[in-house]
Chain length 429, copies 2
Amino acid sequence: MSEQTPLDPAAGDSADLPGGDPFGLPEGDPFGPHNLPYGVFSLAGEADGRRRVGVRLGSYVLDAGAAAAALGSPYVSLLARTTLNPLLAAGRRAWSDVRRALTAWVTVPAHREAVRPLLHPLSDVTLHLPFEVADYVDFYASEHHASNLGQMFRPDAPSPLTPNWKHLPIGYHGRSGTVVVSGTDVVRPTGQRKSPADPVPVFGPSVRLDIEAEVGFVVGASSEQGTAVPLADFREHVFGLTLLNDWSARDIQAWEYVPLGPFLGKSFATSVSAWITPLEALDSARIAPPERTHQLLPYLDDSAESAADEPGGYDLRMTVTLNGQVISEPPFSTVYWTAAQQLAHMTVNGASLRTGDLYGSGTVSGPEPGQFGSLIEMTWNGRDPLELPDGKRTFLEDGDVVTLSAWAPGPNGTKVGLGEVTGRIAAAR
Amino acid sequence: MSEQTPLDPAAGDSADLPGGDPFGLPEGDPFGPHNLPYGVFSLAGEADGRRRVGVRLGSYVLDAGAAAAALGSPYVSLLARTTLNPLLAAGRRAWSDVRRALTAWVTVPAHREAVRPLLHPLSDVTLHLPFEVADYVDFYASEHHASNLGQMFRPDAPSPLTPNWKHLPIGYHGRSGTVVVSGTDVVRPTGQRKSPADPVPVFGPSVRLDIEAEVGFVVGASSEQGTAVPLADFREHVFGLTLLNDWSARDIQAWEYVPLGPFLGKSFATSVSAWITPLEALDSARIAPPERTHQLLPYLDDSAESAADEPGGYDLRMTVTLNGQVISEPPFSTVYWTAAQQLAHMTVNGASLRTGDLYGSGTVSGPEPGQFGSLIEMTWNGRDPLELPDGKRTFLEDGDVVTLSAWAPGPNGTKVGLGEVTGRIAAAR
């Protein structure tokens, strides 16, 4: 295991220090003006705790609504708000226009002087859940992850994948009310579990608490109930993405999930980053998804898109740390089903989209052991504990801190940093 | 099959006609002053379509916010709103106080004269989804329903119920963004299906479109993430109930649901009544649930409550009509898991409740064939078609209209009517 990555917060995302020049970012800073993710913050010193839309630049956050007002921008109505939802609802053209304006404000010298007083060091702000989550759906889109679980739990099946897996992106609805922002403690869930050796179920705090390292996609523009959203309209509806940790209690889930799927094993908490990266910041990271092994039905067939300029995949290099130690580096590029396919599938039955819908990729696992996105895979269902400086781990212990971070290739050899998502396990209540 | 019940809308819920005396209800009207369910309406003649909180009295609706203002009531802040959410959030004491005030307004002669101009015939209003749905969960709480499906789909299993069924109320999250109000057309969903005879999945409109006759519970008061809500606190959190039709595409569901549960087979639409019946209106309908055959873990054990004055069950007599013909009369009293147990289970892992959370009982089926709550049970997976005046039915055809209605025992031998939920199947787009 290696030490912390440069993107780890304790090491500092960027070399500029609070109090320095917010525009004096080192060359290639992953949160430079080519990135500009959106969040919602309040100022630590303000009694009323008013929430404001912010845009991250290095280790500063720009008060975007105040900047729009100061510069007489027409986008003040989208930015001088307490959540990102109005901006999300405004649609793709507005997203482009606002991003172009923000880029100018932090790069054009005259504008820089106007907005300089509106940049706050991250150390002076509290970050909040950046949007109101409407529906939350979680997919199961990594072939390596699904195969690993199939091998563990259905060793006698003819294939580790279920027969439907290569025909549709399997997904299910999760609990949107328990989506929390990075930094929120996660209370260990309590519930029923029953191992084959138990004559009846036992009750207590989960003893197999796990992570799932995922990427979450945030829907901006809504759609009409009864009407499907085609593959090609992905970028009309999806605003951006975030890292996502779908905390999972494997023991609770194993006992409850037949026949209607995961419920309490997942619903206690899902963590997302405080920063939503707009898709436009990731144009240089777009790649073709893995080769398809089955002919897909037309509504999912992205072979034409992959050959053209809508490749569907994203090259995101993820890192998972546990108490500061890197324990895995899952490559999002290996995920079989793309976010565009997930969106097309989710709506093919006429289900509508709402502003603020969030959907997760499912656990991202690459083909190699050092690339798995969950502890159940890393430890092969507890058989092979991780060796950490503070002891062995199969599943999470109270006090453990898990952090997901990632970067993507940016323009001209730069990196685009994704906002980290971190959480500490608190003891069961 | 019998003709329409007296609660069917076409037959009129109540004998008073629009234009008559709204206070001249016949003795025992199921929507009399002992009921007073809540909804949200707009006036057909108003250009701005402003939404208002309403309370149903016979075939009239009282503009509750205007009434509160006219009478100088302190509850104007809860009632002069566009959704029920502020009232829901206010908590149990406020629910009681507001209900007491409303009862006085429609029964005390002096108040009656003040509110008379604020009563609108139902024929003059448009009814809307009465609350903003936060999370939607669907349970599987009827033993007869679960046993029927087990017999159909797992005929060789040792028991028609899965091993967990008697130990916990099985549930899963559904799509809250596609919950629609009674009267909304349901567009036939399209998707993948694959019968064992098909070499690959086929795509098209569902050919096994079904209903699920359920009761939905509406959460008012929220709870803190990380903390369980005990059985005894059910009435502190749940405001009221509604009939619910969880439309289901059996062919889509059968192909997709292993291993993560129902998704597109359900997410296209869920219909609820325009009227939310407060739990206080149903005090005379409270009964003990069916006898428990297994010792329950303490957080679900309601044997003490059942013996005391918190019995947990509700005696609701449901009727399902298809194109005006009664096809089933499911008794809610036979449902194994109570709404209080469902709430305790849903939160035992620390999942928080939000105002507007909705959870369904799952299909309500009694032990007899005339009491099943879904077509797949009524026709035994299509083997025994229903004989209707307009032809045979296994699953729903375009143009079919399904209506759920119900009543419960009220005080002094009265009936409490539940608002119906109806929907027509529109052709796939």
